[in-house]
Amino acid sequence: MGKVHLEIDGKPFEAEVGSMIIEVADLAGIYIPRFCYHKKLSVAANCRMCMVDVSSIPKAVPASATPVAEGMQIQTKTEKAVSARKSVMEFLLINHPLDCPVCDQGGECELQDLSMEYGDDVSRFTEGKRVVKDKNIGPLISTDMTRCIHCTRCVRFGQEVVGIREMGAIGRGEHMEISTYIEESIESEVSGNIIDLCPVGALNAKPSLFKARAWEMRQSPSIAAHDCLGSNVWVHHRRGDIIRVVPRENEAINEVWLSDRDRFSYQALTEGERLLKPRIKRHGEWQEADWQSALSFVASEMKRVIGGSQGKNFGGLIGNSVTTEESYLFQKLLRGMECNNIDFRTRRRDFSGDGRSSVRSGFNFPMEELDHMDATLLIAADLRHEQPLTALRVRKSTGFGNAMAINPFDGEYNFKLAHEIQPDPHFLAQEFARVIVAADKLNPDVLHAEAKEWLNGVESELVHEEIAKKLLHGEKSCIVLGVYVQEHPQAQTINWLAESLASITQSEWGYMTQGCNAAGNKIAGAVPMQSAAGGKSKAGKNAKQMLLEGLQGYFLFNCEPDVESVWSKEALNSLNNASFVVAATPFADGRALDYADVLLPIAGCYETSGTYINVEGTWQSFAAAVKAPEESRPGWKVLRVLANLFELKGFDYESSEQVINELREKFDAAGENKVARKIPPPLMQVNESEVSRKSLGLYQVDSIVRRAKALQQTPKASTHPISVSRVTT
């Protein structure tokens, strides 16, 4: 791209050919007012607020829609520019209600801010104002369409970024209204972004409505906790209460967006039924207890079960979305007690890779690169529901590249697929193998003999060849495995296939994981086959063994295996039959009330400091945004105190930073411990009972999301889980 030279307000700048004046000004830190322009959306140039004065053009021009040119002299503050903006401001205000004092946007309203500068205090408009009937567009977003200034950002967001047109501008002229087709029909999993996009108070977060004014809130940076992307957020709170959660810009991770799941889940913390004090069950009755007696009770019971079985008959299960610090201390505690039955992978069926794979998990390339892929092959990846923002990235790439899928789903895609194969879930690995066979034909020098031998007998068809060709010929290509793959009985086979295909076609590859911190849990050592940072461990039982075999005692750390495990029925049974179950949880309403003997109240996300490691291996630490309510405490502190009760050494941490630093040092010292995958067992059809036909629903993924009220009222909550196969028997 060439460069042009121009001046803005007398200062010289260099700019890319083809960029618009407003982009250059933004980079230069010169603010030009705007309503319709948004850097992530197409140019609409309909609000006319960004008018500037270009000396070679007689009329004022919109900076958002005027491309730069060599030698351009741009003035943002001359009479020509300012009077154009003032008149636009006047026009916008004639039909805008002056209800700032009761408007939720008050204090952070772009219209309000700019009217201070450009609005005349006395309106010369004395005719009646337009009133627009309100619409109910669902439980997440409240509307007050009389305030709408028709910038169409929300409409363009749906159309362009999400690829699902739900909002539209209906009617014409002054009667134009932003609307949905029928009421209550906003269903997209990223709909909340239109709240941020709306420059005025027409679209607001329904759960936060009338809870606080903008200037009363403080904000704390944090990390969202419900998918492996680790979106960056601001938590807005007032006097210790979370009021809302909004995206914090991070181009590499969530750009400027947030999924509805990450945005509205906090409601479980503020409105869910919280566990506020430790409880001990005595003679079948729950009694509140102080921390001291609850922890002593836990310690003595654990000693009893663990001591009596040399650690064999006790197991620790940890949730997918706990902090790395918590899972590190959890495993350190249990291992310190000689118990190696530790796992977080309650949705896994295939453990054959244990001990052979790297300590890292997830992606070996930055997610950001998904934007630029010429070819993307999805394997059982229900992106819109697993990782809503990743779906937006893949959608971007389909503007020039190809997305393809081998998915045993009723696919709901927000982008076009160049090829789609829908195998029965039993044959997922087989179907995938056919692509590798096709790729091997095109590029036979990569696979070694043993692998070729293994693939012998697998035949490819035209569609497999087309897919292989696109991956091979694309300058940048990748293979993305969905969360479902890690739940498949042939997960390791499929991982191996992906790695092999990637090497033949010179593609990148990666796999998605459940929850926000699978990568952190693994590095922390919350797995039976290795301790922290891939360190050695005596063999322990994995989640499946713990839940199916039935142990005498369990420690559940923010984990509800009776709901979230693929072995949920068996899990419930085992938990009911155990002689001692301790559950550390933020909530007081799960089945733990039935099967547990002690409940320890721990902080939920945003209430504790910690670190999540996302799918691409980025460590993101955060402080607590608010204090955990009443007696509940951050999990890492609970584990530290408990370890002290056991008189274990090395647990005198004063902050969670000390915990994570200890792990980080180990991790850095260990380096990359890549172990070659071995050739998987022969490709066979898998056992019917082992194949899941359901994956966890969009709003079922963890204990917090499951309790978020508004999310549970959306249509997506009930249409999920989606059925995995439509090609079933």
Binding site: A44, C47, F91, H150, R172
Partner: protein, 423 residues
């Protein structure tokens, strides 16, 4: 000197038939092209020489416009005819479609050849059922004779032409709104640049001309650019159809040379209705500012003369007003029209047209205030030049025109709560 171009079949029986059209020399220009006697460069040269200016309102030279199309760019290109005819006062394209459809078809085929486009659309306003049927029949006749379709008359030229219908929206006459509408969307104008010649229908290079502009082309090529130029005056070549309506004895379309005096045109239209006195004229459709009788009687009917007098020739819609006309009432009708027809996408037009219309109606209802007129003029100025398309200007200019020439009528009404014009 009348009815020599677009209306040249009008004197025949069934003037819309293929026979009628061929009998006056129709499709001979196309035949010359097919025979290789008329190349696209020559056609553009002739058009430039003819000084044919766009008949849709803006008056942009047609030959120049055609030369902007990237004819050698690979991929589909489109030729689009603007038969939306929505400007109040205009009713000429309807008569071309009804009485001489083949000439439009031939003009568009030639345009397709010149711009290397193989598909054309004729966008007609939704209410044009009768013209639609005439056009459909004419298209069929042309297809049957292989004037349209694959390998036209055995040459390598291919051109398919479709009629498309709107559904009631004045804004769809604006060329980029028309393109959006043709794509099945709301008729909301696009920001320019990019211009349709680069990014038009379905994102492809597109040429948009008015019905009368295309229909003039075959005749120019049959005769010559010079011949056409001589029908009018320099820079204002040819004849133009003037749609005369309002207070004249014999309203109708008159195809006469540009540069004819208004006096003569008025006489052709039978003079003033009932012998009343001429008060003023809206010379180019409702978006052109009104001109008082004294000015008009001195003017010739061409782009330059009317432009110099502070108005526009526009689409050639001449609305004649006699002494009984109340200007406040006229301004109210005009303001209401643009208020109704604003597409609503950009702020100054969406909000400003409603504001102007409300103020004028309030004055009309006897509730005017002293500061209304300055405010009205200010609002009109604030719309002008600050909108995405020219509807904003079209809405503001006539209001400013009414205020400029007839401010006293508004003042009278504000003060006396009745019109200055006795019923």
């Amino acid at each position: 000197m009348a009815n020599e171009v677009c209306f040249r079949t009008l004197h025949l029986d069934e003037p819309w038939s293929l026979e009628a059209y061929e009998s006056v020399g129709g499709y001979s220009a196309l035949k010359k092209i097919v025979a290789g006697e008329l190349g696209y460069e020559k056609i553009i040269d002739e058009l430039k020489l003819s000084a044919l200016r766009g008949r849709g309102g803006a008056g942009f030279p047609t030959g120049l416009k055609w030369s902007f199309m990237p004819r050698n760019m690979p991929g589909q290109k489109y030729v689009v005819c603007n038969s939306d005819e929505g400007e109040p006062g205009t009713f000429k394209d309807r008569d071309i479609l009804r009485f001489n459809p083949h000439q439009l078809i031939e003009g568009m085929i030639i345009a397709g050849y010149v711009m290397n486009a193989t598909v054309g659309y004729n966008y007609m306003r939704g209410e044009f059922y009768e013209p639609f049927e005439r056009m459909e029949k004419a298209l069929q006749e042309a297809r049957d004779r292989n004037y349209l379709g694959e390998k036209i008359l055995g040459s390598d030229i291919c051109f398919e032409l479709h009629n498309h219908m709107g559904a009631g929206a004045y804004i769809c006459g604006e060329e980029t709104a028309l393109i959006e509408s043709l794509e099945g969307k709301k008729g909301q104008p696009r920001f320019k640049p990019p211009f349709p010649a680069n990014y038009g229908v379905f994102g492809r290079p597109t040429n948009v001309n008015n019905t009368e502009s295309y229909a003039s082309v075959p005749v120019i090529l049959e005769n010559s650019g010079q011949w056409f130029l001589d029908l009018g005056k320099p820079n204002n070549g040819g004849t133009k159809i003037f749609s005369v309506s309002g207070h004249v004895a014999n309203p109708g379309n008159f195809e006469i040379g540009l540069g004819t005096s208004f006096k003569d045109l008025l006489a052709m239209a039978g003079g003033m209705l009932g012998g009343k006195k001429l008060k003023a004229v809206i010379p180019g459709g409702s978006s052109s500012p009104i001109l008082p009788a004294e000015t008009m009687m001195q003017l010739t009917m061409d782009y330059d003369a009317i432009g110099k007098a502070g108005s526009m020739l526009g689409s050639g819609a001449v609305i004649v007003l006699d002494e009984t006309t109340c200007m406040v009432n006229l301004a109210a009708i005009t303001a209401h029209f643009y208020y109704e027809e604003s597409c609503g996408q950009c702020t100054p037009c969406r909000e400003g047209t409603g504001w102007m219309s409300r103020v004028i109606h309030r004055i009309l209802n006897g509730q005017g205030r002293a500061d209304d007129l300055d405010n009205l003029d200010r609002v009109a100025s604030n719309i002008m030049g600050r909108t995405i398309c020219a509807l904003g200007d079209a809405a503001a200019m006539p209001i400013k025109g009414f205020l400029k020439h007839y401010r006293h009528e508004f003042e009278y009404m504000i003060e006396h709560k009745r019109s200055i014009v006795a019923e």
